[in-house]
Subunit: 364 residues, 2 copies
């Protein structure tokens, strides 16, 4: 109806002229001065991940003529990277950019905000978040921690990490000391491996000395910078614990509620832009890094099939164990796995069929 | 430096208090009343694609407290769907939502804004657009038509379409009348097939009567609605001419330049949100539609390998022919194909390795 009215009253060109018409001074509430602080869980050296918060902050500032400023702090500048969510819960910062699975120690349910072993790939995660009920489920859970979450980037499928020696069979996992965290660490424990918690900067010397036998990090672009290929040249794939690893923006719920509606809309759009932009940046940067790594002596290997199968089985056991004692986890797990099974039913047809041909024809 | 100053002067909690501080009345320019019209190339029945323009319009309105209104018109309401770009060039509407490859009749270079045969998949397209120089190259070209383009959605790899009879070898393509457009139509001509231009609503009766032998549309979610499975049950994949099909927002350059900077930022974020949201919507909806189609009697087939190989060869011939006479096309083609080759070098490792395992384990 409005449309018909509009068509009647507006000759072509009227709308164009309107673009330069200045309105009466805007109501002050629409553009209040707001200053927020965002603590990132990441150092600036992980520039692609860290950069997603800067993309959001810049977009919000530009959309508000500088009236809404979000100042981004690297991990450790205000609070340690792994305490970013706590700072949001406490309201000491308004928001953070983090990987929800860092908080599996509080509750393993957080893992579904990033990635779980043998879960969704990056596009499937977005489908679940935005149109599969995923963010609703996650925000219901995050609410316990006074957090409102928004998807804020993805790395794509990560690599399986760097190994000092080749892994030829699942038996080679036994006793292996590997730098790996969260649920994946609990899974490889079931294969006899020993997960290690080591900060990013300490991985290289640990691999060099042989204090650990293997370490996972992200993918070619980030891994290259840390130089692991020099001390642990066997580079395995895929990272079955992170088929797609989502970063999220966590916002204190009370601060979120205080924001004018237009600012909420601006943050939501800016987060979506950061989400698609970060994945695009990794996808654009990883190929060249992979080439350089291969030239530097990195040896690419797929995980042996029995390692993959045993890891899948161990993951399912772990999910069953946690589900027994954690209702939120069970609910989220069941939703994600049902969604995943349907996604791959479709994925195997057009997407996978196309990629398979493109990869075959590239090789020949 | 600013950060240090901020840390010194701001005790924890100050920033939070600022969230409710009202500024002096905002300068009027920051929120002028603007009314734009957006003509979509799509009917409302293609609700996922059409909906991307509504997602953008809603986000822009919310971000500006309703001061910047973008009214969305379906194909045909203002101008026919395939003339959306012309209306933007002429300035009769400020913007449109369209598939750039609809304009290959003007210049085949437009195809790179959507998809070309054996080109990039959806994520790779975003990588090229946002971080591979793609949108810069495209906007340099679109500038000839007074257009500023922004990525605005993707369907993912499309299906290869519906065939009345099985295609067992490339020889079966000879004489085949297929509803397919653009560069793909020119490619299949080289295989002896006869491309047909038929509007969406006329495809079903044409297939039913046998006026045509095959027709491509989009993918399970959209195809199901048109009921093709009843009259052409052989459903082929992948749509090698649309490994990822991008929709774009086209904005008249003069109107874009007239927008205040904050409104430009708001439109850019909203377009990025529409971009990721539309892909997520398709990814969430296609699996269930595929299941229903299979239950209704659709028979899924991969294209025979010799059809794929012959189509690749014919595409390369076509690219060489057009490149000889069209410098903009040549430049874009060479950029895309170099980017694609690097992308698949990486894609075959972690992404494809992960998907391959997930698909195998789902089947068993």
């Amino acid at each position: 109806m409005e449309r018909r009215k509009f068509l009647k009253s507006a000759s072509i060109g009227t709308a164009a002229a309107a673009a330069t018409t200045l309105a009466a001074p805007a109501v002050a509430q629409t553009q209040p001065k707001v200053s927020w602080r965002l603590t990132s869980s990441f150092p600036k050296s992980l520039d692609t991940i860290y950069g997603a918060a800067e993309v959001l902050a810049k977009a919000v500032s530009e959309a508000t003529d500088g009236n809404f400023q979000i100042q981004v702090f690297a991990a450790g500048e205000l609070v340690p990277g792994l305490q970013a969510a706590d700072a949001v819960t406490a309201g000491t910062v308004e928001m953070c950019h983090t990987a929800p699975y860092y908080y599996v120690g509080k509750d393993p349910t957080f893992a579904f905000g990033t990635a779980v072993p043998f879960g969704l790939n990056a596009r499937q995660l977005n489908a679940w978040f935005y149109h599969g009920g995923g963010m609703d489920l996650l925000n219901e859970f995050y609410g316990r921690y006074q957090i409102h979450g928004l998807p804020g980037g993805n790395t794509g499928t990560q690599m399986g990490g760097w190994f000092r020696k080749e892994i030829k069979t699942v038996a080679d996992m036994s006793g292996l000391k590997m730098r790996i965290g969260g649920l994946a660490g609990r899974v490889i424990t079931k294969l006899g491996a020993v997960p290690q918690q080591i900060a990013g900067g300490d991985i290289y010397p640990s691999l060099e000395k042989g204090t650990i036998d293997a370490a996972e990090w992200v993918g070619p672009y980030d891994d290259e910078k840390l130089g692991f290929y020099k001390v642990a040249p066997h580079y395995y794939y895929p990272g079955w614990w992170e088929g797609g690893a989502s970063l999220q923006f966590f916002i204190n719920k009370a601060k979120w509620a205080e924001l004018p509606k237009n600012y909420q809309a601006i943050v939501t759009s800016a987060a979506a832009m950061a989400n698609v932009d970060m994945q695009a940046k990794y996808d654009a940067r990883n190929p060249a890094a992979l080439k350089r790594l291969a030239q530097s002596g990195a040896q690419l290997h797929p995980f042996p099939n029995d390692v993959m199968e045993a890891s899948l089985k161990a993951s399912q056991e772990l999910y069953a164990e946690i589900s027994k004692e954690n209702e939120a986890f069970r609910k989220m797990h069941d939703a994600v796995m049902a969604f995943r099974n349907d996604e791959y039913l479709w994925w195997q047809i057009a997407e996978f069929g196309y990629d398979a041909f493109m990869i075959r024809s590239r090789r020949s």
